[in-house]
């Protein structure tokens, strides 16, 4: 491992942001993956006698519904755990997809410049004219609703976030003499891109990946909130929010639960991204040498 890698890893392990963010995220992942084990009820099972139950520690709570029930008598805890699966599924797939598309295009644009760059930059410019939410709505209207459509929409929209930021980083790296030197000793363009340019921008890509996962969680929540994401029989945090909003006056706790879940998930991704940015900042790494 290079001293860069070692130093960076060390800083990551000493970063309170990364540690806290990582631990929260791991807990969320365990809770969601283990939903069938942990959930006390089927998330769709309605108990029409016990609707709008408060959480178990409040007066009138029922220990078999630890976080209470919603307007249809469904177990909030079970729905919360299963809803996490949707959020994490969308977060993982869409952030990876957007990263892949955005990074490849950024590498091409920033390294080759010229007409390739012109074309990619114009597309980014057109995309940037849309508020992301509007473009998502348009895409979902065209593609039809559904979780996978949401994933596809996020990839098709948020690749520009990666592309814009990474492209300018690629340009900086591509201007370095060591890239020219690699060409002069016989490296092909592809080899130069993969061996010299990509490693230099990888920390930024990783940081953005983490932040993008947080954004994807928000988008999924919004879309399931307005009913454009999951099927009606699938529990998702946005759906829980929409359901609880209509009964907010009687059972405010039903709103708080999904809000807290979304908050913690985004917080963990943001903390990770923030920590990674600080730990992997190339300026910090290179300044370790002799001044």
């Amino acid at each position: 491992m290079t001293p860069h890698g070692r130093q960076a890893l060390e800083r990551c392990l000493h970063s309170p942001r990364i540690l806290v963010g990582g631990i929260i995220l791991i807990l969320i992942v365990i809770a969601s993956l283990g939903a069938p084990i942990f959930a006390p009820h089927d998330p769709q099972e309605q108990d029409l006698i016990n609707t709008l139950l408060p959480p178990m520690w409040q007066a009138g709570g029922d220990p078999s519904y630890p976080l209470g029930t919603d307007g249809l008598g469904r177990c909030i805890l079970s729905r919360l755990l299963y809803g996490g699966r949707v959020a994490l599924y969308v977060a993982a797939l869409s952030s990876l997809g957007a990263m892949l598309l955005g990074t490849v295009l950024a590498l091409l644009a920033g390294y080759f410049r010229g007409p390739v760059d012109w074309l990619i930059s114009r597309i980014v410019e057109i995309w940037m004219a849309f508020p992301p939410v509007i473009l998502t709505l348009l895409l979902l209207l065209a593609l039809g609703a559904g979780v996978n459509k949401v994933v596809l929409a996020i990839v098709l929209i948020d690749w520009t976030r990666f592309c814009r930021v990474i492209r300018s980083d690629v340009m900086v790296v591509a201007r370095k003499d060591y890239v020219a030197a690699a060409r002069l000793v016989g490296f092909s363009h592809v080899r130069t891109l993969l061996r010299e340019v990509l490693p230099a921008v990888a920390p930024l890509v990783l940081t953005m990946l983490s932040l993008e996962a947080g954004i994807a969680v928000v988008v999924e929540a919004i879309m399931s909130f307005v009913g454009l994401s999951v099927e009606p029989d699938v529990p998702a945090w946005g759906v829980m929010l929409a359901d609880a909003r209509s009964t907010m006056n009687q059972a405010p706790f039903g709103v708080v639960v999904p809000v807290l879940a979304i908050f913690l998930t985004i917080l963990s991704f943001n903390l990770l991204g923030d920590g990674l940015r600080r730990a992997l900042d190339p300026r910090l790494v290179t300044s370790r040498g002799r001044a």
Partner: protein, 626 residues
């Protein structure tokens, strides 16, 4: 005459208690200039930081005093210090272009300074500033008031800063490498203006520089610093012409000269110890590199002894035989004759590179620039040829054209007789086996994520060579560039500047090229390290059948290495010929101006000569239009 500034046993220590500056004593009187000379890491800039109370983290004054007009600058409060700064003590910075605020005009910044100094009604500011700017020989000072710093050249910015520094008629001016960032031809002008104002106002001045020759020209006295200590101090002329400390002697002999016979440059092993290493040097801090040290040197700290009137040396053997023997016995270098018999390695015919101007939103193109215009050049086998020019002369573009990193707009490039003008795969293959480039900035030229053995054998990576083959090759390349084999698994960040530049050279040698293109490869290095690299290039010529295109702004470096020289100015070759002819009898006025800008080795020759001090506003206005 009363001393304006007097340092007494000044010691600055790091947080760990290591003395970064040790026992510094000197004094500057009214109207006097003292030079603090040293390579990077010597601690020469630390003094200015002590005065400004701007020491790096953890560093503090642990002993001694710095007396200024009855006040000890190491002890006064922040507010009292602030009152002195700008009024009584002024600073001239190293980087003029970045030392003026880019979003404020020259007029705004100067006015702010005048308001701070006080004593002048606001209505008189404008007239006062115009006068001050005219005084540093800036043309159209009225117009300059509305200009922003980035519209000015470095030389112009520096003159503005000089005018500001002297505006308050300060008692003391600290100039920290004021000409280092400037082009050679501007250097003389700036020095002359600074000296004139200093003389007129009777200012005491501390002139900090790495250039011993320049210091001898500017200063009355010189203090040479090494690893945080003054190792020699004396009258300027005496220190330059008859240095006594072994370090000063080697420093002088490590500097290539513009006239007289060419000696092989003296070199010192390694480089100046870092602050962390000071702790391991209980005795003389120079002992580990000293060519005449004996075991006793490493044990005891030598005292500063007065060996001649007002000439002090910190060495146990300063006037002894051992040190005196240092300068002689250096072999004389014979410039090699070019091999005219065989095919030239490189031929350039009418080579041009035009950069089109940017089109505005209506598609109107601004006029472009001819970075390189109609350049012809032939490099024979084994020939070392120098290309000299200042920034913007097109010399770096020429290097990139030859290397194939840019395509020419016109003309032909022949490598070993084959046309490689069109950068297709055949031309690329031919270039690959014939020529290599050594880049200017090793920081940017070495991928920080690759280990040294991977960097130097990078050329073998696409060929699929085995790890063992590459390691063996890397070992021999490091040996050839006189680097220790221990460095193989290190990374660039762990290397010193000189070591990085050797790795840079080793990588270029991996493909056994016939021609090296070296773009300003010693410009960022200290004199003693520069000498190591220059000598390495000489040795490589002897060992390999190598030609060199050396691109440099430094005439003396070119004279030391090359047999022929090409002078470029604004993309055009203005003069070309044998080195001795061009430097001895320059024909073009620009060449004469370049040569006149370098302080001559002979202290009796007046400098700056009148020709070198043409005000050059034109240069700045050109920048503004780009």
């Amino acid at each position: 005459m009363a001393d304006v500034l007097r340092a007494k046993n000044l010691t600055v220590s790091s947080a760990g208690g290591i003395a970064v500056l040790r026992d510094i004593s000197f004094a500057v009187a009214r109207g006097e200039i003292i030079g603090l000379v040293g390579e990077s890491g010597a601690g020469k800039s630390m003094l200015g930081r002590v005065i400004a109370a701007n020491l790096p983290g953890g560093f503090h004054v642990s002993e001694g005093s710095l007396d200024f007009g009855g006040a000890d600058l190491t002890r006064i409060t922040g507010e009292a210090r602030r009152q002195l700064l700008g009024r009584e003590i002024a600073f001239i910075p190293q980087e003029p272009l970045t030392s003026l605020n880019p979003v404020l005009t020259i007029g705004q910044q100067f006015s702010e300074h005048l308001a701070r100094i006080g004593g002048l009604p606001r209505s008189a500011f404008r007239e006062h500033i115009v006068q001050a700017l005219a005084d540093v020989r800036l043309r159209n000072p009225e117009d300059l008031l509305q200009r922003y710093p980035f519209q000015l050249s470095g030389g112009m910015c520096q003159r503005v800063l000089i005018a500001m520094a002297f505006a308050a008629k300060p008692a003391l001016v600290i100039a920290d490498e004021p000409t280092t960032a400037l082009d050679v031809s501007t250097q003389a002008t700036v020095v002359q203006i600074m000296r004139r104002l200093q003389r007129e106002q009777g200012t005491a001045m501390v002139f900090i520089t790495h250039d011993l020759r320049l210091a001898a020209r500017v200063c009355n006295r010189i203090a040479v610093l090494y690893a945080g200590e003054v190792i020699e101090e004396g009258p300027a002329g005496e220190v330059l012409e008859a240095p006594r400390h072994p370090y000063t002697r080697v420093l002088k002999a490590a500097n290539p000269v513009l006239s007289g016979p060419r000696h092989r440059l003296r070199t010192l092993p390694d480089q100046m110890p870092t602050v962390e290493a000071f702790a391991r040097l209980p005795g003389c801090r120079f002992a580990t590199r000293c060519p005449v040290a004996d075991p006793a040197c490493a044990a005891a700290i030598p005292t500063l002894r007065e060996i001649a009137p007002a000439h002090f040396v910190r060495c146990s053997d300063a006037c002894g035989e051992r040190a005196a023997a240092l300068v002689e016995a250096e072999p004389i270098l014979v410039p090699p004759a070019a091999d005219k018999g065989s095919e030239p390695v490189l031929v350039l015919e009418g080579l041009s590179k035009h950069y089109p101007g940017k089109a505005d939103w209506l598609g109107r193109r601004k006029p472009g620039t001819d970075a390189v215009k109609n350049v012809g050049l032939t490099v024979q086998r084994g020939e070392f040829i120098g290309i000299v020019g200042e920034s913007g002369s097109g010399k770096s573009t020429l290097a990139r054209l030859i290397a194939g990193l840019e395509t020419p707009t016109d003309g032909r490039i022949l490598v070993a007789g084959e046309d490689v003008t069109r950068a297709d795969s055949k031309a690329r293959a031919l270039r690959l086996e014939t020529l290599q480039m050594v880049f200017q900035d090793p920081q940017s030229a070495l991928n920080p994520r690759r280990s040294i053995d991977h960097i130097v054998t990078q050329a073998m990576e696409p060929t699929g060579a085995s790890r063992a083959e590459r390691l063996e090759r890397a070992r021999s390349l490091l040996a050839e560039t006189k680097l220790s084999g221990e460095l193989l698994e290190r990374y660039p960040a762990q290397l010193s500047g000189g070591q990085k530049q050797r790795v840079n050279i080793a990588r270029a040698l991996c493909v056994t090229p016939h021609l090296l293109i070296a773009d300003e490869i010693v410009s960022g290095l200290d004199v003693s390290v520069q000498a190591q690299i220059l000598n390495l290039l000489l040795d490589l010529r002897a060992a390999r059948d190598l030609s060199l295109v050396l691109i440099s702004h430094d005439l003396a470096v070119v004279r030391y290495l090359c047999s022929r020289v090409v002078i470029m100015h604004h993309g055009v070759v203005v003069e070309e010929g044998e080195v001795d002819r061009v430097f001895g009898d320059p024909q073009h006025p620009y060449t004469r101006q370049l040569i006149a800008a370098v302080p001559p080795d002979d202290l009796d020759t007046p400098w700056p000569a009148p020709v070198a001090v043409e005000p050059d506003n034109a240069e700045g206005l050109e920048r503004a239009s780009i």
